[in-house]
């Protein structure tokens, strides 16, 4: 691969790119925990209630009939509690396991095996692209990409699809789905907005729509976009934008058609140290391949001049002027 990334480098990048990867399933875990607590509390209070009734009956010479039927009630409520508790815990466990799977995947960035490491990087790009596509509203593409890349567990498709459903129902002027969403996210929204007055739900719906639309417009602020902008800047040089196009390199991403236009408004790479690349061979010019200047001012690598030398003459590839090999002068860059 062209760009070198050490394990330490990958680790630093993890820190700035992977917050959504972990936080979203965590929030689901949190939600399911609260739901579980609610269920357990509710069923526990049901049990406590029927037990209290039984205790009351027992305290005043109870008939077998009434005791037996109350006991049935207790057993029934205990069974319901058991069932709900088990279901809730399973849901919580599932969420926690999803978080764990994602962390395990992230840990694989430090694999020693080059094949595994490059597979991880490929998946990383695919993951970020899936999220970007979801933000843009290209849901089918995102789902297809996630499936082909084998990363369905690692991306937050569900969250966006839920939002899509709400949005689409709002567009049909139906509020049921949105209300359900609000109810579902009630406690978090409560912390955020402090308004759950039933009369205010209309405003909440509008707020959702606004936020959701903003989410789409903010497609250009996906982690993918920010990463891409940074990368294009890091590669961009003045040579990519020379008017006569003479300095374009077929390997340089910023020189390629669409990326060239995209990178135009972005800052350029900062280079404090010189590096010269021979136009003929694409090799670096350094002490092993010293830079040589022809009388017309153009500089080429010594090895390249040797390779194009014919009868002690060289033809400048840029201007087609013919010079003697001996006319090439060594130059020094520091």
């Amino acid at each position: 691969m062209a760009v070198q990334e050490s394990a330490a480098q990958l680790s630093m990048t993890l820190k700035v790119q992977e917050y959504p990867t972990l936080k979203v399933p965590y929030e689901t875990l949190n939600k399911r925990f609260r739901a579980a607590q609610k269920n357990i509390d509710r069923e526990t209070s049901h049990v406590t209630m029927v037990v209290a009734e039984l205790e009351k009956t027992l305290s005043s010479c109870p008939a077998v009939d009434s005791v037996v039927s109350l006991l049935d009630g207790v057993v029934e409520k205990l069974s319901v509690l058991k069932r709900k508790a088990v279901e809730s815990i399973q849901a919580e466990d599932e969420s926690a396991k999803l978080c764990k799977r994602r962390i395990e995947h992230l840990k694989e960035h430090s694999s020693d095996q080059p094949a595994a490491a490059s597979m991880w990087k490929r998946k990383r790009m695919d993951r970020m692209m899936v999220e970007h596509l979801l933000r843009c509203g290209y849901y089918n593409t995102a789902v297809k990409l996630a499936r082909q890349s084998g990363i369905e567990d690692l991306v937050n498709i569900e969250m966006f699809l839920t939002a899509k459903e709400v949005e689409e129902s709002l567009e049909r002027r139906e509020t049921a789905t949105c209300l359900a969403w609000c109810h579902d996210n009630k406690s978090r929204l409560r912390k955020m907005k402090d308004l759950l007055d039933p009369a205010r739900w209309r405003m909440l719906i509008q707020q959702f729509r606004y936020d959701n639309y903003r989410l789409h417009q903010l497609g250009n602020n996906s982690v993918f976009t920010l990463t891409l902008q940074a990368g294009l800047s890091a590669i961009k040089t003045p040579q990519c934008y020379k008017e006569d196009g003479s300095s374009k390199s077929p390997d340089c991403p910023v020189c390629s058609r669409s990326l060239n236009k995209l990178a135009q408004p972005l800052p350029m790479a900062h280079c404090a140290n010189s590096r010269l690349v021979c136009k003929i061979s694409g090799d670096v010019m350094n002490e092993n391949n010293p830079p040589m200047m022809l009388p017309n001012g153009y500089v080429y690598g010594y090895n390249s001049l040797l390779s194009i030398r014919q009868d002690d003459k060289v033809v400048c590839p840029r201007t087609k002027e013919v010079f003697h090999f001996s006319q090439a002068e060594k130059v020094y860059i520091m």
Partner: protein, 371 residues
């Protein structure tokens, strides 16, 4: 890595607690249900229909009630206790991962047309990777029209690569033969390498393939000049066909890496022939961004902290150098060693008599400075 380990540790604790709680909950409630059911049974057995409950059983039942209440209330509070472990996971994530990196983006720099351009880039990227249906789906969802000439070379290349990955050499060979002249012009030995691998695959079949292998060796003829040594090695290995190549000094011919390498060689030579870069431009740019991002975020934080935000916004250059490795040196850069700035058309590099190169501004400064 530490970030992952820290979060994972908290997650493990939570998972452990869920598992323990789940077991206790299920077992405890099961026991209670059985016990209570058993009591009911006992009552029915020892009493007539309209009888009154005996004193002993009444006492036992009262105790049972207490036990039930205590158990279920403990269940509820035990679950509540897990909450702190759950929220510790969230805190670990907040502490170890950056929640908002939008500060590093440049507001409003990618407006109207950029969405379309980015979609084009992504479509081309998917064609390159052989993900044809993803590319077409994106075209459909984004309203782009597919340019067949853009997609064609990649379709064929991917078809050949898929075959190579399962050691089927025919499509690659056909392609190499039909592009023979251009491949030779760029010093590629692809065709020979493919023939060589086919020969080796015959060898792996043992003595039954001996005649076919000898027949196939005729294909080496045009390459006899440039690959003499290689051909000699291949022909020499035939001697060991009976006892098996894996038991001979020629065992290296069976090295599996060659099959992985031929995919890379084909990709490289084919892309060079078509004037394409080997790696998808989007992949390279994205990888470069992964390297640049943490550094830029850090420097942005430092700039803001020291309240010198002007430094970044004024220049249209990144504030720091990002090291991408030598493979990403696509263009020459000349930075004046004295003024430490890149040269431009207005400030071009100048050669001194001694052969050293500095920028014109530096040259002027030297003239004006010294006497």
């Amino acid at each position: 890595m530490d970030q992952c380990v820290t979060v994972e540790r908290e997650l493990e604790k939570v998972l452990h607690k869920f598992s323990g709680y789940g077991q206790l909950c299920e077992r405890g409630l099961e026991e209670l249900i059985d016990y209570t059911g058993g009591l009911k049974h006992e009552i029915l057995q020892s009493h007539g229909q309209d009888a009154e409950l005996s004193g002993t059983l009444s006492l036992v039942l009262t105790q049972c009630c207490k036990r039930i209440k205590d158990t279920v209330q403990k269940l509820a509070s035990d679950h509540k206790d897990i909450h702190s472990s759950v929220s510790r996971v969230g805190k670990a994530i907040d502490k170890n991962f950056d929640s908002d990196i939008s500060s590093v983006g440049i507001d409003g720099c990618w407006q109207a047309d950029s969405q379309r351009l980015l979609n084009e880039v992504m479509v081309e990227h998917f064609f390159r990777q052989g993900m044809l249906d993803v590319a077409e789906e994106l075209c459909q969802e984004s309203g782009l029209s597919v340019d067949p000439s853009q997609k064609e070379p990649f379709v064929e290349l991917n078809r050949i690569l898929e075959a190579l990955k399962v050691r089927v050499l025919r499509p690659a060979l056909e392609w190499a033969v039909s592009n023979r002249e251009m491949l030779i012009a760029q010093n590629s030995s692809l065709e020979f390498k493919l023939h060589r691998l086919y020969f080796i695959s015959l060898l792996m079949g043992g003595t039954t393939n001996q005649r076919e292998a000898l027949q196939y060796a005729k294909n080496f003829q045009p390459f006899a000049l440039n690959h003499q040594k290689d051909i000699q090695v291949l022909m020499g290995s035939l001697v060991y066909l009976r006892q098996g190549i894996e038991n001979s000094p020629y065992v290296h011919l069976l090295d599996a890496n060659q099959w992985a390498d031929i995919c890379d060689i084909f990709t490289r030579d084919a892309c060079a022939l078509l004037g394409l870069s080997v790696e998808s431009p989007l992949s390279v740019s994205f990888s470069a961004g992964c390297v640049a991002l943490p550094a830029l975020i850090n420097i942005k934080a430092v700039i803001e902290q020291r309240q010198c935000t002007g430094v970044w916004n004024q220049k249209d250059e990144l504030p720091i150098e990002v090291d991408l490795g030598k493979k990403c040196w696509y263009h020459s850069i000349f930075a004046c060693p004295i003024l430490r700035q890149q040269t431009t058309d207005n400030n071009p590099p100048m050669k001194l008599v001694c052969g050293h190169i500095i920028s014109r501004d530096a040259l002027n400064k030297m003239f004006n400075g010294s006497k």
